[in-house]
Symmetry: C2
Subunit: 438 residues, 2 copies
């Protein structure tokens, strides 16, 4: 039919749990998958995928688009001095133009590297400009508007919570019916939110069916300060104020006590695992195999460019595997389990498990072609091993969201690459000047 797309001659890997089929095809109609497997069909557009794996698009469960413009500004620091000295002053200095450049740069890196959907935390202002940029870029995801009503060590970034939620109303008015994007409500973390901020955020989000997104238990110093402030362990406190549940994603969860873990299990709260960020900020190794054994859903994400310094789900998958081996031994976490977190785990987090994460018929055509013929991937082996340990973001040769090709033949289709690069350089310079960090 007109508009149908057929990807053929591919190694089709419909989901992390299933086997890959050589010489397979995927048929796409009206932005959705009609069939994936071994079959013949005709289509308006035929993509020959010889030498490539076709698999579900990667889904990053925790990123900060507004921070991508800050890549490399704050190296070799722990979480709190990194936040207070560099990240918050820079976020507070954002203007619509710098937010836009940062969001588009993020989209470019994500699309180029095979990420098709995400959950983010942005900053306390200008989130409308993030929506606009991601809308243009064509990615799917939930964009988290950040709530911070306490200074957290850097006053100018804070916003009164009534104003913040009024701004969320504006965002919902403008973007509430978007087919690929939705708003998430993101009280930043306990140390920058009053109790009423967190309770109001939960009430606001739940009355509107929105996701909640926050950080928890990333570093010991943070946990100590939370204890001093609330008298409670971190996730116990979050549970008290309502920030646990199947509509909540908790980034990091590196240092979590058994009683806290119970809350995660009982409420269906999602863990958002950020391997590189946890290494780069010296946080530690999250007990992911234990979470999976307790049926806690885990998604994987790159976190922020200034603590990574990439937003590359392939790197995160590789490190997610490596880091558990030195903790628990070589069999700690299978490559298939890692790919599952990086695809289906993210889909479940987003509440879109029936929409993406696998290549099942009826789901949105969010998928990627991954070249399997690079020297570093030869000889190829099973797709999970290849994807987790050999492939790189650069092996992605095509990225599709809702049936639309966002990257192909080395070029982004929705972003003017040269203009973006010029905008990034200009806006970075101006942003650091405004932040007093130039």
């Amino acid at each position: 039919m007109t508009g149908d797309i057929l990807i053929r001659n591919a190694l089709v890997w419909p989901s992390a749990d299933r086997d890959a089929l050589e010489g397979g095809s995927v048929l796409i109609r009206d932005g959705r998958i009609v069939e994936a497997g071994r079959f013949s069909a005709r289509a308006h557009t035929v993509i020959d995928a010889d030498g490539c794996l076709v698999m579900p698009g990667l889904i990053q469960g925790h990123i900060h688009m507004c921070q991508t413009l800050l890549r490399g500004i704050a190296e070799d620091l722990a979480l709190l001095p990194w936040l207070r000295g560099y990240i918050w002053p820079s976020e507070a200095a954002h203007q619509p133009e710098s937010i836009r450049a940062s969001a588009l740069l993020t989209c470019a890196e994500l699309i180029r590297g095979g990420t098709t959907a995400f959950l983010s935390i942005e900053t306390t202002r200008h989130t409308d400009d993030t929506f606009q940029a991601v809308h243009e870029a064509g990615l799917a995801g939930a964009i988290g508007h950040c709530l911070m009503d306490e200074t957290g060590g850097y006053p100018p970034i804070a916003v009164d919570n009534r104003d913040a939620l009024a701004y969320c109303d504006v965002l919902l008015d403008r973007w509430g019916d978007h087919p690929r994007l939705k708003l998430a409500v993101a009280p930043r973390f306990v140390l920058s939110c009053s109790e009423s901020n967190m309770r109001d955020a939960c009430a606001y989000a739940r009355s509107r069916g929105l996701l909640l997104h926050t950080h928890s238990s990333e570093q010991q110093e943070e946990i100590t300060l939370v204890k001093e402030r609330t008298g409670r362990c971190n996730i116990c406190y979050l549970n008290d104020v309502g920030l646990t549940g199947a509509d909540v994603g908790l980034a990091h969860c590196v240092h979590v006590r058994p009683e806290e873990r119970r809350f995660l299990v009982e409420t269906g709260t999602h863990v958002l695992h950020c391997p590189s960020a946890n290494f780069k900020l010296a946080s530690g190794i999250a007990p992911i195999p234990e979470y999976l054994a307790q049926d806690i859903n885990v998604a994987i994400g790159g976190d922020g460019a200034p603590c990574n310094n990439r937003l590359d789900q392939f790197l995160e998958m590789r490190l997610a595997g490596m880091m558990q081996k030195i903790r628990l031994g070589p069999e700690a976490l299978s490559a298939r389990a890692i790919v599952k977190m990086a695809t289906e785990g993210g889909a479940k987090l987003l509440g879109w498990e029936n929409e993406m994460g696998t290549l099942d018929p009826g789901k949105r055509a969010n998928l990627i072609l991954v070249d399997q013929s690079g020297f570093h991937t030869l000889p190829s082996t099973d797709p999970a091993t290849n994807v987790v340990y050999s492939c790189t973001a650069n092996d992605v040769v095509m990225t599709m969201v809702d049936g639309k090709i966002l990257y192909e033949d080395g070029h982004l289709t929705t972003i003017d690459e040269d203009k973006l690069k010029a905008d990034v350089r200009r806006e970075r310079k101006k942003l650091l000047e405004r932040a007093g960090l130039a």
Copy 2:
């Protein structure tokens, strides 16, 4: 002059310790660097390097070319079962054709990813075919012929030491005068070498000025077995039999006691750090900042494809930094110190510190151009941070060894890529059949 090459308009980073110069040039004559910095010159060939960093070629201090054909065959295993069940049976089944395919595939991956020189351990047979392949590919390095006179749990791979050293004579006859390649003598590790094997290897190498290369203290189980067998801690025993010194590279050194570390310091023995392999085989985190603080020279390497699964010095640099942060805190190891290990550390190991590792005049023109304009490297920051945490092997756009371009414009100049890929697929299949692992 005829044959001169001028790289211009580049960000010239002459060595890890120095600052990078924008708008710089490198002039190359007769395979060596004439000048690197800001100057004007004319040349027969001019390379415009706009948007690229030019830096010393990366040097991998520990690889196994003969294992690259085994990528992905033995996942999620610890060292000894991995060796005995998969690696040794496969190495023992190698024939000249499979050794050649494996070596050329290694060279392709190394060149593509900016590695210009290396130290390797091959297997107990067919090392002449490795020399031939690397000679054709154009890389520089020391190729280690592997000595194993005890079974180490898999009898067919062992070779009587007199025969092994006689084979080294043949290799020296053929390759002893090569301008870029040299032989190293590589008794594999204590558990597969008799004491006389190790002592004879040292005597043989030292009488001929050859490097010695072995593994040590990678895993606790290995150390326990060494203790049972020799009554000594690993490096104490190696020191007893002669395997310490400024001509010795010890791969791994993950678990090293203070009295062993003293031998490393006193003898000038080089530590060969393999971050990914140490994670993938669940070995642990080597105390690299402590080694550097004691002035122990450290080189970095990818080890073998089946325990990595890449041979990518960029990935190794990134993980080298990340892993120390969770061990010692965010300031544990600077990006500059990591780049220094990955370049000058390798040069010193090879005894070629006056020949490579920096862009100083008179040194061999072993250098790489690294694109700094990818979305994942924007906005760019200082070159060390960019190279260690943002760049990937794929950002390498040109690789030069001794003034000869081995990779440019997306293609290898010395290797027939299509033929290599076909050879790799065929030889892998035949090798695994011979090894009984198909």
